[in-house]
Symmetry: C2
Subunit: 454 residues, 2 copies
């Protein structure tokens, strides 16, 4: 994040922060003028009882708040300042359109059934319902040699990122696309894998940042990338909206094989791919021995609030001693998780039914939104990326701070976007514009942007 | 676990293990004759590609499978052996009775509403819906100074145990009741807090085991307990069924204050308390500065498969440097979790409505089951503990191995129980009998037990 984050009170946590309000002066300024080192600073005066438990040093390494709550906080502050403004959110990638009844009805039926002797069920399998696992395997990985036993159903990809890092432990080194979804880095910091944040380069010491920019077509120059144990790779990428081609993914898999690395491939936006880019890493020969995949119903089926995702760990993926990664992950899932909700899994199963594929209409709707936004920025003379295979538009503001652009757009148009630098130093100078939204809001956003940047 | 676990193939993971079947001989026997060190042993012959990623050393410290999947595996093996037997499960503490419609209908309505423009919602607050947090605070902690902002809604207490240990990091030392719910120890092992398992004493080196036995009324002798950073304390206790009294909890809170420790108080069974034992640790003066509490709708509302719980972290709970524990937990929740399902939270809110309190009838039903089981074992001359304030009956078989008793009961009566030693060395010689079950099954179990032990 850039210098535009200039205050650092507990309200960074957002309104539902679990803390009482405290004035900003309780948190002393750090010696570095550009940043406020809020996360490690105790209150100035402490007369209350304190335990003798040390704060986890890894938590102290985290930078301010998680990106999206920080944006929510700024949105709330803006609304307080302009209570009559019609604020439109193109910030957090949050779905807005209703879910077809072919999906919600089975959830409702499952809920009702819990009131009957025959329909009641208690603990399900930690790995997910057998039928849902089988349906995920056959729908998305049918011809690729992935079967039901390789699928672990989750309450969302974000939750599985932390469980996966718990699986790999504190001593692995990770690599991330730069920019990328911030949960990879933040979860890794919490696990103690990253070293300290280095203010001058805006990077953690022990993370390999794989720069993805217009210059390299948003695919990293692997010849300059150092070996990492774990490579997070999101395609279509959040935030750049760029999907890696088959050739590029083939290079990535070969790179992992050469280095003995494990790819954590995030395919949460795969349903938005409109060209022949692979929908899953397992389309690439040899991937099953070096990759696992996390995915989600969130962006496809509008399940951001319903909560359902999955992780694929092929039985071929082995640690260096030959021990199967899936076996350890199974142990993590059994110990730290109790399965996704039975009601929600009924909805997931319905998504994969022939009728459930009607969700594609909703995806198409968001794709039309994307086109409107791409056309808007293009017509204004901006260099615009993404959009084709993802619900995100990545707009370049060369030489400007992302947070300044974010703040200007919010102040002058009441539109919430996401500053690119929130996704890593490689995002500086960009903003991400989400295409999730009602049509009239997207059209109104387009009008306001044309007014501002005409 | 005792020597009764004598095989160690991947089938320990259960049928849904995410792995292909592999013959037992692939896993060589360890040099210790009493145990098979399966978790660290690679396949004997490895010709397949392996990555160069090291297996997490903490995972290697875990002992065989998590307890309950292991029991599920043995149950499945028994059914294979006796396909016509009417197996009755009093093992896993899994609810069996239908949920009243006053609770399932709001879930169904919430699901249906997701198909409407007005009723659709995407990402909710990571900490849970404001209304549900407020209802939990007022229903359970109304007069105790806990408010909405102190409540973090979760997808279940088990899931929050891992998130809490992630919060505290690898360098804390934990204490547990012995016996206790195995997720405390196993989650702590995975986090790297425990040291190695010591075969001779059946304990991890760096865990403080607080023995709870009939001799001390199932409350540890705190004068012999070494300081730990984190004290897991479950009351009513799983597995012993014993609830700590107000005096005992006052001593526990004082012990934590003297040592500067943090208590993770697990009140998942609080709704089963039938005497005046405290329902929450926050009934004890001074607890807010040394305790947080995890709890759940699972055992109260039959939500074991629906998935909903919560964690209370008072704003008064501070690390040694004065930093609020809740603030770091909020960061964990925002990074590693995305909130409980919106459909499920609607059910949770209904549980706390005046009509929702009808769930108490279901609790009473299980309490009657408990009485039947207590009477059964008492009439057979066993020393029986628990049952009064919890849905668990803790039966003593002095001098016998828990796994042997488990195996005998399963073999001769087709009843699944839980071996006490699965909860820690202090559980050796006991079995836990769960009172969750349909009435006819509990009565039939009683008949079979009377037949076996007459």
């Amino acid at each position: 994040m850039s210098s535009a984050i200039s205050s650092c009170s507990p309200s960074l946590l957002g309104q539902d922060c679990g803390l009482t309000s405290r004035s900003q002066k309780d948190f002393p300024r750090s010696r570095t003028p550009k940043f406020l080192k809020c996360v490690a600073s105790p209150p100035a005066e402490t007369t209350a009882y304190t335990t003798k438990v040390q704060r986890n040093a890894n938590m102290e390494k985290l930078r301010a708040g998680y990106l999206f709550p920080e944006i929510a906080r700024r949105r709330a502050a803006h609304i307080s300042k302009y209570p009559d403004a019609q604020v439109i959110t193109l910030g957090i990638g949050d779905t807005t359109e209703p879910i077809p009844e072919v999906i919600t009805s089975p959830m409702a039926m499952r809920a009702h059934a819990l009131s009957t002797v025959e329909g009641y069920s208690g603990y399900g399998a930690e790995q997910g319902d057998k039928e849902l696992r089988a349906a995920i395997a056959s729908t998305y990985y049918g011809a690729l040699g992935i079967d039901e036993a390789d699928i672990f159903v989750s309450d969302g990809a974000k939750c599985d990122i932390s469980r996966l890092l718990l699986l790999f432990g504190a001593s692995v080194k990770i690599a991330v696309q730069d920019p990328s979804y911030p949960a990879y880095v933040d979860s890794s910091v919490i696990m103690g894998q990253t070293g300290l944040f280095q203010m001058d380069i805006e990077k953690y010491g022990n993370i390999e940042y794989m720069r993805c920019s217009p210059e390299n077509g948003f695919f990293p120059n692997l010849s300059t990338v150092s070996r990492a144990d774990i490579i997070f790779f999101c395609s279509p990428n959040n935030p750049t909206g760029s999907a890696a081609s088959r050739d590029q993914l083939t290079k990535l898999v070969q790179f992992a094989r050469d280095n003995g690395s494990i790819i954590i491939y995030d395919s949460a936006y795969a349903m938005y791919i409109s060209d022949d880019s692979p929908r899953t890493i397992f389309e690439i020969p040899g991937a099953k021995e070096v990759a696992l995949e996390i995915s989600s119903f969130s962006k496809y089926a509008g399940f951001t609030g319903v909560r359902l995702g999955w992780t694929v760990i092929p039985k071929e993926l082995l640690f260096t001693d030959g021990f199967p990664v899936a076996k350890d992950f199974n142990r993590i899932v059994c110990t730290s998780f109790n399965g996704a909700s039975n009601v929600v899994q009924a909805g997931g199963l319905a998504c994969l039914s022939p009728d459930g594929l009607k969700m594609k209409d909703v995806v198409s709707f968001y794709q039309e939104n994307t086109n409107i936004l791409v056309d808007t920025f293009t017509s204004l003379g901006f260099n615009v990326y993404g959009g084709k295979n993802a619900p995100y538009v990545w707009v370049h503001f060369p030489g400007r701070s992302s947070w300044d652009v974010f703040a200007e757009i919010l102040e002058k148009t009441h539109l919430v976007t996401t500053p690119g630098s929130g996704f890593g130093p490689g995002g500086e100078g960009f903003i991400r514009v989400s295409a999730f939204g009602h049509r009239e809001n997207v059209l109104e956003a387009s009008r306001r942007l044309k007014q501002l940047f005409k």
